[in-house]
């Protein structure tokens, strides 16, 4: 009977969407805005078909192979890293009993707060020749320079390690959810059939969770491809550094865009993989019922192992780098906390605040458009507007700068011809261009959150209000706003933090000498002034913890829901 009920409500929805095929002002505005936001992607993709210039041929002959191989190796390294750490910690915290389990359940998300470029330079400070670790080693052993071998942190392997340490939470989160949802039926069956933890894991849990794991993995790989700070700092030539070099070193926009287009194709492949896996994950969802799990009781030795694995991930992914940053900040407090630092903060606040506010407004506009006037046009437009999230900041920056420059030049030529003076560069190199790039990249975050919040307000809640005599305005005021408040705050916060962390797009598009926390941290670190970079980095990390707290709260809440 429940099926009949859900069938009916499911049927009622598309009815509206199919019916309202007429195009009104809402549809037009939504479509126009979505098109505008998709311009960078289309510009970059358009360069796939551009005739290849001399620079491009030069790139192909010399460095393209390096870019491809390094990016590929990096992806493989990160894949191995995040799978090992993410899946094992997810399995342990969701299915086994061991000391500290409930703490690790949320603490394992903390590494997400640290951007890869920050952990990269922190580890460099810790582990390179002059760092505390090697210094200590030399003091103990009496070795000198060249007497011993020590792994070079600034290498491709090092970059893969750094990225793995902060990206494993993607895999952890999704596979944990998968393990929890499957546990009650199939795992119990497996256990009644006499399989112990290991056999249950490899023959039942892992295959069932595979789609979720793959989805988490593809998210981590998208971030890997988008990374610029780490690989640049470690001197590894990948696509993103290549785009930078072609742009600034060779001064060739077309070739940079062509590189971007290639990178974009790989990203699209990852998006398909992620989408496909998520769809599959739905079918692999084996139960609707949530009951109290009976976790595997580990022996003392096994429990210690489990603890060490989880603690290791947390320690190397968060505690160690955050501690080092704190220490640096502590030692450089006097010279770092000055007016310049305050201006960094105000710049970052201004950018992140404005971008998150604008993204929220746009998201509300798109979401309501979908709810009120959802037809195929609006749905397609909204999907297009949310496309930017997986796309590397470098690529978006290239896609923004080319059309903006073209617009400025065209306007300038026209004004010159018409009025005899120069309008100069109106948009390029302004905050407007930067904000636009942020919107393209992060609107999806806002959109998803608002969409989910609005989706929780079932249509019957609107209908009840109407049957009780409320008009639209009153419904929004008395029902929607109070119910959406949480989602709106979350949307603001998530975009705010993402903008704060975003490095490559800011580097390329910022107005001349306009510094933000991320840019400054990166620049100081590049100049080997690691300790001086710590304040900016620490600020980013601390703010970055906020969404992690949100996430962990939703995790605890779902755990409570399970036990009732």
């Amino acid at each position: 009977m429940r099926d009949a009920v859900s069938l009916r409500s499911a049927r009622r929805k598309p009815r509206h969407t199919l019916l309202s095929t007429g195009v009104n002002a809402w549809h037009f505005a939504v479509a126009l805005l979505a098109l505008l936001l998709a311009v960078p992607v289309f510009v970059v993709l358009g360069h796939l078909f551009e005739p290849s210039g001399e620079v491009w041929r030069h790139l192909v002959d010399t460095v393209l192979q390096d870019y491809v191989i390094n990016s590929l190796l990096l992806m493989i390294g990160v894949a191995i890293g995040v799978l090992l750490v993410g899946v094992s910690t997810a399995w342990l915290t969701s299915m086994c009993h061991f000391p500290g389990r409930s703490l690790f359940e949320w603490a394992l998300l903390l590494p997400m707060a640290i951007p890869a470029y920050i952990i990269a330079y922190t580890y460099t400070g810790l582990f390179d020749f002059t760092g505390p670790f090697q210094t200590l080693l030399r003091e103990w052993t009496g070795w000198g320079y060249g007497d011993y071998w020590f792994p070079e942190i600034r290498s491709l392997e090092g970059a893969a390690l750094m990225l793995s340490l902060v990206l494993y939470p993607y895999v952890y989160l999704l596979s944990r959810a998968a393990f929890l949802s499957q546990s009650i039926c199939v795992l119990d069956v497996s256990r009644t059939l006499g399989n112990g933890p290991w056999r249950s894991f490899f023959f039942v849990a892992l295959p069932l969770a595979r789609p979720a794991i793959v989805a988490g993995l593809s998210l981590a790989l998208m971030e890997t491809l988008a990374d610029y700070g780490t690989v640049q700092y470690f001197g590894v030539s990948t696509f993103t550094t290549g785009i930078f070099r072609t742009w600034y070193g060779l001064n060739n926009a077309t070739a940079a865009a062509q590189l971007s287009a290639l990178l974009l194709l790989v990203v699209f492949a990852l998006i398909m993989l992620e989408k496909g896996s998520r769809r599959q994950a739905r079918y692999h969802h084996t139960t609707q019922r949530h009951q109290v799990l009976t976790r595997f009781q580990l022996t003392r030795k096994q429990g210690l192992m489990a603890f060490l694995i989880c603690f290791g991930a947390l320690f190397f992914g968060f505690l160690l780098p955050a501690g080092q940053l704190l220490w640096w900040a502590f030692t450089t407090a006097e010279e770092s906390l000055d007016g310049r630092f305050l201006s960094l903060i105000s710049h970052s606040l201004l950018l992140a605040g404005t971008a998150s506010g604008l993204a929220l407004l746009l998201a509300l506009f798109f979401s309501y458009g979908k709810r009120r006037h959802g037809n195929w046009l609006v749905l397609a437009a909204v999907r297009m507007a949310g496309m930017g999230y997986a796309i590397p900041g470098t690529v978006i920056a290239v896609g923004v700068i080319i059309p903006f420059a073209a617009f400025d030049n065209a306007l300038d030529a026209w004004v010159r011809e018409r009025f005899g003076w120069s309008s100069g560069l109106l948009l390029s190199g302004t905050l407007a261009a930067l904000l636009f790039a942020y919107l393209v990249r992060f609107l999806a975050v806002s959109l998803q959150t608002v969409d989910a919040g609005l989706g929780k307000i079932r249509p019957t809640l609107d209908e009840v209000a109407r049957s009780l005599g409320s008009r639209s305005g009153e419904i929004v005021r008395k029902v929607h706003i109070p119910m959406l408040k949480g989602s709106l705050m979350t949307a603001l916060l998530l975009v705010f933090v993402d903008v704060l962390k975003e490095l490559p797009a800011t580097l390329i598009l910022r107005p001349f000498n306009y510094n933000t926390l991320a840019v400054r941290a990166y620049e100081l670190a590049s100049d080997e002034r690691l300790a001086d970079a710590s304040y900016a980095a620490l600020t980013i990390v601390i703010v970055g913890i906020l969404p992690v707290i949100l996430l962990s709260r939703s995790i605890t809440r779902s755990r409570h829901a399970q036990s009732t």
């Binding site: 049957s467 008395k478 029902v479």
Partner: protein
């Protein structure tokens, strides 16, 4: 008495698909009506048309003598003064019980509002819960709050869209009776939409059976059961067996159960093949009867046994017997007919329906009792 609701030749269309097809009925002030039918029959669409959420493609709807819907004009729901109870209750999670109930109370002072809320909460036995939030209430309590929230502004009509389907069976039966008492005490005119005939029987004064958008019969529960107008109603309401028969010259019908006078919607001609409907309670077990039939299946239902009996020609009958008459399968028991109205339909049945009736005859208790077919 004045008609509180009049539905005249109403049709609702989604694109080219007609989901409500030329439906007419009336409801007196203070009466409780019910739209009953399988899922997808258009009953909810009709209810939503009455509420003003769906426009009419044809026909007209009048509330308290005032025309509120006709093609080209649909008075907005917020202007109709209809109260609606949804199947998911649709309580506002961010508002307390008190604020939920007061949501539709306009133009009343704060004191009047809280008085009305207190009065309504007392009516449904929830006094003292006014400061609770919906998630702190049980399913039955939420249902009652949803009910009085819809009743609070004293609407012209109360529309209940499968209001009990989210509750478990026991609670459902108890609440149905309770809601009827409340509605009757307050003199509320109401329409219930449901697919559950027991719910319809115990709540409504008159019931309309809908199938594929058409209203097959608008009648009391008793008449729907004992005098169904067509095969669809006979099939949908209750259980029964169909026995083939033939119309004789004097209008009587001959079947393997003997000759009897038929009750027809359209009188069939002589010699025409018909089917006779026998309800399980039409066949009375009587040890003294000479007419005996073999038991081929039996299901224990608590107070009664439902026996499946085989006729000589292979047809089956259902027979409801008090459960202390415990007979074994294979045994022959005496029965007699106790039929007030013999209901006969011309034969036009599809093979599918045949199979369905046979299945009911074969009922062996593995499935849910066929009383709740949907």
């Amino acid at each position: 008495m004045r008609n509180q609701l009049e539905v005249k030749h109403a049709s609702v269309k989604y694109g080219s698909q007609t989901v409500v097809d030329d439906v007419s009925f009336e409801l007196e002030s203070g009466a409780i009506g019910c739209l009953l039918g399988p899922s997808g029959c258009g009953k909810t669409s009709l209810l939503r048309a009455i509420a003003g959420f769906e426009p009419l493609a044809e026909g007209e709807i009048l509330l308290h003598g005032r025309s509120v819907s006709y093609p080209g004009r649909t008075m907005a729901p917020e202007k109709r003064r209809v109260g609606m109870v949804f199947q998911d209750f649709a309580l506002y999670p961010h508002l307390t019980v008190e604020k939920n109930i007061a949501f539709g109370l306009r133009g009343l002072s704060g004191k009047q509002q809280s008085e009305r809320v207190r009065e309504l909460l007392g009516l449904v036995g929830l006094s003292g819960l006014d400061k609770k939030y919906p998630h702190q209430l049980s399913g039955g309590q939420q249902q009652r709050v949803a009910l009085v929230r819809a009743m609070a502004p004293r609407p012209e009509i109360l529309l209940l869209d499968e209001p009990f389907s989210g509750l478990d069976v026991e609670l459902r039966e108890q609440l149905t009776r309770e809601v009827r008492t409340i509605l009757k005490r307050e003199g509320v005119t109401a329409i219930l939409v449901t697919h559950d005939q027991q719910e319809a029987f115990s709540l409504a004064d008159s019931i309309g059976v809908l199938g594929k958008g058409r209203l097959h019969q608008w009648d009391s529960g008793y008449s729907l059961y004992h005098q169904p107008r067509d095969r669809f109603v006979a099939d949908f309401i209750g259980q029964g067996a169909m026995i083939p028969g033939r119309v004789l010259r004097d209008g009587q019908i001959d079947s393997s159960l003997g000759r009897m006078k038929g009750n027809f919607v359209d009188q069939p001609g002589e010699g025409e093949a018909v089917e006779l409907l026998f309800r399980p309670d039409d066949i009375v077990h009587d040890d003294g009867s000479e007419f005996t039939l073999e038991i081929v299946d039996k299901v224990f239902q608590g107070a009664e046994y439902l026996y499946t009996l085989a006729l000589a020609d292979g047809n089956r009958l259902l027979c409801l017997v008090q459960s202390h008459h415990d007979h074994a399968i294979g045994e022959k028991i005496g029965v007699r007919l106790h039929v007030d109205h013999v209901v006969a339909f011309p034969v036009e049945m599809s093979p599918q329906m045949d199979a369905k009736y046979f299945k009911i005859g074969q009922f062996n208790g593995r499935q849910e009792p066929a009383v709740r077919k949907y």
